[in-house]
Symmetry: C2
Subunit: 868 residues, 2 copies
């Protein structure tokens, strides 16, 4: 085992051993790019250091050898009074953990070498400044002395001199500070400051290793779910200085514009400055292009390096450089962070430039990032008065006047033509019409998967949920937060991507499906094998989704249609009917509406499959809860308030999620499903006559036994029989797999079902025994304390729920290779879940319209990964 590699010995493939930073320094060296030389102590040494509680045999000798090598190469020597070697010591793990571990700069300085450095640079002030910084860093990082002790000395010195800026301190001042800093070290540690550079080096390396297990680093890895690393590498690199005069300087740059993706060199620099000066923002740096005039040779050299790096890495690079007395050194290169728009443009451009393949281009884009491009955004330059912050429940910005009831939202929008934000403690299915009308939704309770959040994401409407800071008083038509009160009719702005609630109107920017975006999606569609459909309940949503690439509807929830104001009356009449005849009478009134709904959706999805789920929620969801509404309804339908209340009580359920819903309704009140199937088929016949090709897929929800599906299939096929000779389109009949038991007996169901679609929301609820409505009291704690690594309602729980899914696919396809297996839960548009669905062999995923592009890209990435 080789403990140490000189930069010239390694390359970028050795990231696991050399860490990301070390591997890239080695790679640049290999490419002939000027890099201050040095070496990397491997992650294996770190691993062994902890396992053996000390260094492995032979390590010390190797280090000695590599130090000698570096001295030879640079012509400088540790402790040499004329030409001292100064180095930096930096950590660098295989996965970047910014700011989590420690760094020591200017190592090698002592009372002797500082004089040599002064002689060499002729810059006494610079040298003592470097020296005092070194003591301070070493003292803090290696010796564990409180940073503030050094700062206090610096402050009191400035005070005594009547100075406010560090730069006004003289060389003498700094020399004095060095002596004082050394005093601090001696007082705090009981030992004098180590003057021997090799001792400084040993101590610094050990400190970096130890920092691998410091609290910050451990927590960071836990929170970011970073596991399986051996430890950190340590990079020892010759110091170069950008602050050695007007022919020195330092800068950072991106090989392309990280905010637009334009293929232009982009960055900034400072003459006669150190790297930290650029970051600190005390002096305003220059744009990189001005370097062309100031140092034309260096600029050309940089442009060459830029080209070299991009050609080599085939990725946009983020680089750091230093110019020391007219000589250019590269200190770092890494893949550069970029905006979503830039990511798309760079990927498309690099493919067109022949740098990368389409597959590589697709792999470059983080699907989650696309979210930003699909919703209105706040103008980043606008001022904003943030008054509260809730959960970023549904992305996008929204501006409107505050209203406090769904009815008001509906009326203000449709009658007064106002844009409104609906503010509620929480929402319920009765609020759908208002939620549809509103620009955005703000709730004070409920989580990322509360009713408001789920429905808003489905509609692509901005939503900030669970904003517990605000107190909603719907009665008084106001909400308060601290001492701010917002009354009905006042403007607020929501940012559903950050959870911010902002007073007043903030300008927004409209989203566009740019050419690059379209192109990427087209490539993704060509490559992916997993189907992507959408969850949509209206022709409008269907159109949006199709625009975004949906290949059909994977879930059309018929119950949302029932809440429409003109229909809910008939729905209630049906529920309150005394017998089957009464129910049939009310259903007959609903049928034309349902037919119209389906016809509209067929037209929007012409030629694509439309999965229509038969009525699912328990009937009591359709009845009013408040006294005033109950009275109103009682008057309308001509029964006494007592009678109506008794009916409502009789329908009440302890655990409605596990109650009288789904196919259980279909089996106890078959006339409901019969009406729906008639509407599905009749609408199909109607649009066929217009030349539209409908492909209905009738879905029976909440099946947990084989017989539930079999009985309903037989019954509904009998209904369809009556239209048999008018039907000139294909249709299918299948089930949802929402209960764990349905998954366990999927082989039985697959025998007669045409498709089986996972309702992973319910499946997750029942597998964990988590009610989505009630998890607010413990889920946040579970996530904070890592009992759960992720919210299983956001990303599929592969260990638990995933096993049921795998089982279903395996057993189902064994029995019936033609059965389609799909997912239509919330997770169907989440990248990791989409990859999982691809891997276990699902036929398609279905997600809300605004997540379709994300699912398309994720599906393509999954396919590409599989091929590797």
């Amino acid at each position: 085992m080789q403990y140490i590699y000189a930069f010239k010995e390694g390359d970028r493939s050795m990231k696991d051993t050399l860490g990301g930073k070390g591997a890239n320094l080695a790679e640049m060296t290999k490419l002939g790019i000027p890099v201050p030389q040095g070496f990397t102590i491997t992650t294996e040494v770190c691993d062994l250091y902890f396992k053996k509680n000390g260094y492995p045999e032979g390590y010390k000798d190797t280090l000695e050898k590599y130090v000698e090598g570096l001295e030879e190469e640079t012509g400088k020597q540790f402790g040499n009074k004329e030409n001292p070697l100064l180095v930096s010591v930096r950590s660098g793990a295989a996965i970047s953990m910014p700011g989590m571990m420690d760094t020591v700069l200017n190592l090698g300085l002592n009372d002797e070498t500082v004089k040599g450095l002064i002689a060499k640079t002729g810059n006494e002030r610079f040298c003592y400044d470097a020296y005092r910084r070194f003591i301070q860093m070493f003292g803090n990082v290696v010796l564990g002395i409180d940073h503030d002790l050094f700062e206090a000395k610096l402050e009191s010195l400035k005070e005594s001199k009547g100075i406010t800026n560090d730069v006004d301190l003289s060389a003498k001042d700094l020399e004095k500070l060095v002596a004082e800093f050394k005093e601090i070290v001696k007082k705090q540690t009981g030992e004098p400051f180590p003057e021997d550079p090799k001792k400084q080096l040993d101590m610094s390396i050990e400190a970096v290793f130890k920092s691998w297990h410091n609290q910050r680093a451990v927590t960071y890895r836990k929170l970011n779910n970073i596991t399986g690393l051996r430890g950190t590498a340590v990079n020892v690199q010759t110091m170069v200085f950008g602050n050695m005069g007007e022919n020195s300087g330092t800068g950072v740059a991106f090989t392309r514009d990280p905010s637009t993706g334009t293929n232009e060199f982009y960055g900034e620099y400072l003459i006669n400055a150190q790297g930290e000066d650029v970051v600190a923002g005390i002096r305003t740096p220059n744009e990189i292009k001005t370097l062309k005039e100031q140092m034309p040779k260096i600029y050309d050299e940089l442009l060459n390096i830029r080209k070299n790096l991009e050609n080599h890495y085939k990725e946009m690079q983020d680089v750091e450089f230093t110019i020391e007395e007219g000589k250019l050194y590269m200190l770092q290169t890494r893949n550069g962070k970029r905006t979503a728009a830039a990511a798309l443009k760079i990927a498309v451009d690099m493919f067109k430039e022949g740098l990368i393949t389409k597959e590589e281009a697709l792999m470059r884009i983080d699907p989650d990032q696309l979210n930003h491009l699909l919703h209105p955004m706040l103008d980043p330059n606008a001022e904003k008065d943030v008054i509260a912050k809730g959960l970023p429940a549904s992305p996008g910005a929204a501006v409107g006047k505050v209203v406090f009831s769904a009815d008001d939202a509906y009326e203000w929008t449709n009658e007064k033509d106002e844009k409104v934000i609906l503010v509620r403690k929480e929402t319920s299915p009765e609020d759908i019409h208002g939620m549809h009308a509103a620009q955005g939704i703000l709730t004070s309770t409920g989580g990322m998967t509360s009713h408001a959040a789920v429905v808003a994401r489905g509609m692509g409407t901005s939503c900030v949920a669970g904003c517990s800071e605000i107190r909603v008083d719907a009665q008084a038509k106001k909400f308060t937060v601290g001492d701010v009160t917002v009354n009905e009719g006042e403007y607020i702005t929501l940012d559903g991507s950050t959870g911010e609630v902002i007073l007043g109107q903030v300008p927004t920017i409209k989203p566009e499906l740019t050419g690059d975006f379209r192109e990427i999606l087209n490539w993704a569609k060509d490559i992916k094998t997993l189907g992507v459909r959408t969850n949509a309940d209206t022709p409008r949503d269907s159109k949006v989704a199709r625009e975004f690439g949906a290949e059909g509807i994977g879930l059309c929830r018929t119950e949302h249609m029932f809440f429409d104001e003109t229909r809910i009356k008939n729905v209630r009449e049906m529920i309150l009917a005394k017998d089957e005849a009464g129910r049939r009478k009310a259903l007959a009134k609903l049928k034309p509406n349902q037919k119209e709904d389906f016809a509209g959706i067929y037209r929007a999805m012409d030629g694509l499959p439309v999965t229509i789920r038969l009525l699912d929620p328990p009937l009591h969801e359709f009845l009013p809860q408040k006294d005033v509404q109950i009275e109103e309804l009682a008057n309308e339908i001509g029964v006494s308030v007592e009678e109506l209340k008794a009916k409502i009580v009789s329908l009440h359920e302890m655990n409605p999620m596990l109650g009288h819903r789904g196919c259980r309704l279909g089996l106890t009140y078959p006339e409901i499903y019969e009406m729906q199937v008639q509407a599905i088929i009749e609408a199909g016949i109607e649009v066929s006559k217009e030349g539209v090709v409908p492909i209905p897929e009738i879905e029976i929800p909440l099946v947990s036994t084989f017989k539930e599906f079999e009985r309903l299939r037989i019954r509904l096929e009998t209904v369809i029989d009556k239209y048999r000779d008018q039907i000139n389109f294909e249709y299918k009949m299948g089930t949802m797999i929402e209960t764990p038991r349905a998954a366990l007996i999927a082989d039985q169901i697959a025998e007669t079902a045409d498709f089986m679609s996972f309702g992973t929301n319910d499946l997750t609820q029942m597998s964990y025994g988590f009610s989505r409505d009630d998890i607010g009291k413990f889920l946040p704690i579970y996530l904070d304390t890592c009992i759960l690594e992720a919210d299983p309602f956001e990303t599929i729980d592969q260990e638990g729920v995933g096993q049921l899914m795998k089982w279903t696919v395996k057993k189902g396809k064994e029995v019936n290779p033609h059965v389609d297996v799909a997912i239509c839960g919330e997770q169907g548009g989440e990248p990791k879940s989409v990859e999982f669905c691809h891997n276990i062999g699902l036929d398609y995923v279905s997600c809300s319209p605004f997540r379709v592009p994300i699912a398309v890209l994720s599906a393509a990435q999954a396919k590409i990964k599989e091929g590797k």
Copy 2:
């Protein structure tokens, strides 16, 4: 393939081929017992008849041959005018389906042969009566003519003669009736009545085959879950007549007393009568022992046959016999039905007589039947005025005065020393003290697994649930059913085994664990390998269960202890506390109570394991719901009613079953579980000093992720560490497997858990998505229409939930062979479920005390079956 077997050719091993009846007739023939000779057409012929839509080749010739053989053997001939052969044609499948298929008697009679019979018997009236009965039966069964057409003729004849009894009809009358019956046949079928006996035989055999698929038979098989049979066999047997004079007779008998099991010949007979006369009850039959004087030779012969049959079948037999002119014939033998007490006595006696082994004796007893022996019964001779019928929710009889609240039940019992029946719409955990006090419980809503039913079964208290006929008016302290009103303080009697609600006091009989019962249980305990524990929350229940054979406690629910009147105040103080300190203060007050509870249970279960489940239900279950109670509590704890109501609302859950309960409470409020574990350990230390051996097993409920268990185990072990040097007893820590996900990741849990116990109630709820509280609206329909074959809360759903259980045992034991896997759901005492648990390798089952003997016997039977 042999299509037909003469009785002398078969034996009882051929039940599948000859049907039960045919096989037993063959067996008796083989034993030399006098049986009217005949032959059996096999079930295979029936099977082929339906498959080929006709008889198989060669069948007709075979039939011809067997008819000839029978003629030869009896010396009688079909159609012979002097000595006609008469036969019966009867169905008989491998599994008895009483009354479901058809029979034809006296076949072979026609206008000619009837005369021969008259000449032979000298009894004209008897012969014409037999003839008219034959036409009537044949007409109905074979020709499908409505029975009533014949009956109407008979009635009008009797009317015209001014007669009321059939026996008063003369031979001439009957002869006339024969003619009229033939007229009916001709009119209805368009064909004359078939006079040819061979044609009669062919038609009858075919009719019997066809009856296999009639509606009645199909439904019967479906309801009784009889599958896999090929069809029915047909028995053709020579007729014998018990009504041929004073030296003839007929009777039925049991080889032992079927109601007590005493080893005495038991039965009754009639002289000069047909079998149907005994059954019809027009004449009062004589006790069998009087036959000794009347026909001493026949009686001896019968006693010999009785001995012969019992020695041969090694089972109590139920026989039919006929004496024709001084000659005894046996017409049937089969295993006799018996009461639970008789079943036990017969099994024990037969073992002692050396007839059967212990294993055979154990297999003879239906575990479900034991239920009757474990609870008080209504005196079967008492009169009863049944006013309503509900679900038989918890067996046993109870008599008491009606009360309408738990408080009243408690007070009347404890202060007035009254016996009461608690009548409620439904019960809730707050009613426990009243339910404990009451003799019996009657509810108007809720099913077999409602709160009332489950708790009552657990306590062994009689309960009639879901009695929807009664209307409970708790306010007015009365209930009504039809026009009967029962007021507070009036007596009613419940029969929890039948669901009957009876007005007034009916005398009851106390249960006894008789010597035979004890003996059988001891044998069962020796043989079984599956452990049997009990679910018990009090020392009293623990003692009862130990008495009944429980080998420890498999589930002690600590929450029941929290509802005790003196404690609930502290529980509420804990729930309503503003912070952890407040909660700890209230918990400190609860600890002495919990400690006392556990100490009492350890004493009762000295030396046996006691599984204690930490707090499981959501906290809101402990808060009052009614305004008056809320006011009371607010005053008590010194907060405003509004504040208290707000707290109650904030704890409200949409789906409490899937809410903030179980280990989720333990993780969010660790101080609760800490207090409980302290009490468990401190109580253990306390009783150890008395010489009692406590074996606590600490159970963490509602786990769905590995980390939930791991975190709590670590935390609670830390609590136990403080007592480490005082603990001189073993303890374990484990989980419940209640969520499907827990089963799916059982391998992870088993790594650190000492035991895993299936909570099959919750596991079933979540697997199906069935809320036990809400299934009343569809489960009855599901059971009625066979969508479900059984209530999965009564017997384990082996296809679905069972798969999760198998997976858990397999994966769990693979990882940790020492982990105990058990069940403590309601199904743990149900015979089929116990067998399943044995077969999949569980370590023990746990059930309510009154089901322990049932589980013990079922476990022994499962072991015996496995050995076969």
